[in-house]
């Protein structure tokens, strides 16, 4: 069973839930945790992970031989990303715009363009107790981590239980994280921001036909956010857990410690695991 943890809005508690969920599941089952937030990966900070493998993730970047190039400009016409351009002095590649598709080398009439692999990031894999852990890290200045997420998922050992800590937002990298997952936990907070972004991710998981349920974080029992309740009712969504708004949780989290190590909070995550049905696999 593959479970993605996502939220749309950043800072709502994706990593809090992913790491603590893995931490309680490991008591009973072997679990794999993949940090797919490759722009800002934080899950590994919560475990003392021994990384055993590191693999670079590469893109095929064009390499133009300007001795052969006749400056015809067909490559620039066919590139959909504006990543290559012909000037009277030669043809230039703008690496940060390049998606590594190889169209330019396909269309070059004089075979002046070869491709070479250049790394855009790295995948790390290791373990901590009963947790197999993988993360991707995008290099500074590189535009997109989608390929790193893809590679990370290929690279994983696909254990029976897998938790994927998703990037924020609702764009391509979130979709990549969600591919082939069985269940999505939508983490939200009871604010207009939380609701607005919940709607976006709920739309994605619906489009992708992924079973999903909601966890409300930073929940205050004396304050019911009516608009959110209304949305949940309208869409017929399941709320499977509410995590209280608490200074203590924020403090423990700020030290990169796991709140599920504290008996008081452990139950929160055990209940999520039960309700999602991870122990039935």
């Amino acid at each position: 069973m593959k479970i993605a943890v996502l939220s749309g809005k950043g800072g709502t508690g994706k990593t809090l839930i992913s790491t603590n969920l893995a931490n309680v599941i490991k008591e009973r089952k072997h679990v794999e945790l993949l940090d797919c937030d490759v722009e800002e990966p934080n899950s590994s900070l919560f475990f003392n992970i021994k990384f055993e493998k590191e693999v670079k993730v590469n893109l095929d970047i064009p390499l133009v031989d300007n001795e052969i190039c006749n400056k015809c400009g067909i490559c620039a016409q066919k590139c959909q990303f504006g990543a290559i351009n012909s000037f009277p002095t030669g043809t230039l590649v703008f690496e940060t715009l390049c998606h590594g598709c190889s169209v330019c080398s396909d269309v070059c009439p004089v075979n002046a363009i070869k491709t070479e692999e250049k790394d855009i990031g790295i995948i790390k894999y290791g373990a901590y107790k009963n947790i197999n852990f993988g993360e991707g890290v995008l290099n500074i200045g590189k535009p997109s981590g989608v390929k790193i997420i893809k590679k990370l998922k290929h690279f994983s050992k696909n254990l029976d239980i897998q938790i994927l800590d998703s990037p924020p937002g609702a764009s391509c990298s979130v979709v990549e994280t969600l591919k082939n997952v069985d269940f999505a936990l939508l983490v939200t907070e009871p604010t207009p921001f939380g609701l607005h972004d919940l709607k976006a991710v709920q739309e994605i998981v619906s489009l992708m036909e992924i079973e999903h349920a909601i966890v409300i974080n930073k929940y205050e029992s004396e304050y019911e956010y009516k608009e959110m309740n209304q949305f949940i009712k309208e869409k017929n969504l399941k709320v499977i857990q509410k995590i209280p708004f608490s200074n203590e949780i924020a403090k423990i989290y700020s030290k990169s410690e796991l709140i599920s190590e504290n008996e008081k909070y452990k139950k929160i995550f055990e209940e999520i695991a039960e309700k999602v049905g991870v122990y039935n696999v």
Binding site: G8, K9, G10, G11, T12, T15, D37, E39, E40, N42, L45, D60, K78, Q80, F81, H99, G100, C101, S102, V103, D106, V107, L138, I140, G141, K142, P143, S144, V146, K150, P167, P168, G169, A170, S171, C172, S173, V174, V175, E176, K179, T191, P192, F193, H196, D197, A200, V201, E203, I204, L207, M208, Y225, N247, A250, K251, Y253, S254, K255, S256
Partner: protein
């Protein structure tokens, strides 16, 4: 000529929108632009009226005509994005995976695939008080968020020029990838918001490196600084060593949640955090006006 200030953070949820909304509220002659296009929340804090809506076409998508397709499988072999799948020798293009490069189109022996324009979202010019707010909505799952960020900024800059605004406030995208870098390219000043958690510090270092990579001048705001005194001290020491300016420290303040829920910038309230934000805004104003402290 107007100046552009970008508010970014690396880690999400540290307070970018809270701070951006405050700047927009405090700086009289400014225009706000929300560059977090796939989780755009800034407009929720203002009383706005939609003036104009624009379609955003970002990139293209490949479409396969199954009647022409001879199931040779060449497209699937060549696609670098694993966007083409085969089921019972019928080939399908997954629109979520397709990056619209056109390699399949160029190489299809029977011309069964074409690239079509892809409507990836929309963006809006909304009016409020004497100014405007520019915001956008990326279609869920789309990939050209950096492109949409560039579009909304272009529109904001155009209006700033026409209306003689002094400042464009950019509420940035989280992370360090294309939407985040598109939020900071060419700006006069970057305000980096962080929080004193180990995760916050980890992400702070990556966004600092990103700001340096793009050669932007920047300063740091520590939000919720009193949540972890030790980590705040660490950030202060780190900034001192690296010669990075700390613009201010905002205390943890429940009024921020109250303000958000009442859909107002925190600066509309008298509170511990709004006092500090006022001081920070004055500092930022001095910096971009080139005045000495």
């Amino acid at each position: 000529m107007f100046k552009q200030i970008a508010v970014v953070s690396g880690k999400g949820g540290t307070g970018k929108t809270t701070l951006s909304a405050s700047f927009i509220d405090l700086f009289n002659n400014s225009i706000g632009v929300d560059c977090d296009v796939d989780a755009s929340n800034l407009f929720l804090l203002f009383d706005t009226k939609l003036e104009k809506q624009y379609d955003y076409y970002g990139g293209k998508k490949a479409v396969l005509n199954s009647e022409k397709c001879i199931s040779c499988g060449k497209c699937k072999t060549l696609c670098k994005f694993e966007a083409i799948t085969e089921k019972n020798s019928e080939f399908l293009i997954d629109e979520f995976s397709c990056e619209g490069c056109g390699r399949c189109v160029i190489n299809c022996p029977v011309g069964a695939i074409e690239l079509i324009d892809n409507r990836a979202g929309e963006y809006y010019k909304s009016s409020r008080e004497n100014t405007f707010l520019i915001h956008a909505n990326l279609e869920p799952g789309e990939e050209t968020s950096g492109g949409l960020v560039a579009e909304v900024r272009k529109l904001a800059n155009k209006i700033a020029k026409e209306e003689n605004h002094e400042i464009v406030i950019i509420d940035g995208s989280p992370g360090i990838g294309c939407p985040a870098t598109s939020s900071i390219t060419g700006v006069s000043y970057v305000v980096i918001v962080t929080e004193p958690s180990i995760s916050g510090i980890h992400d702070l270092k990556r966004i600092i490196d990103t700001a340096k990579h793009f050669k932007r001048e920047f300063g740091i705001v520590i939000n919720k600084y009193d949540i972890n005194a030790e980590n705040t001290k660490y950030i202060e020491d780190f900034c001192k060593n690296e010669n990075i300016e700390i613009l201010g420290k905002i205390p943890f303040d429940k009024n921020i949640m109250k303000a958000t829920n009442e859909k107002n910038p925190i600066t509309k309230y008298v509170s511990s955090s709004s006092k500090e934000i006022l001081l920070i805004s004055k500092k930022v104003l001095k910096i971009i006006r080139g005045e000495k402290n």
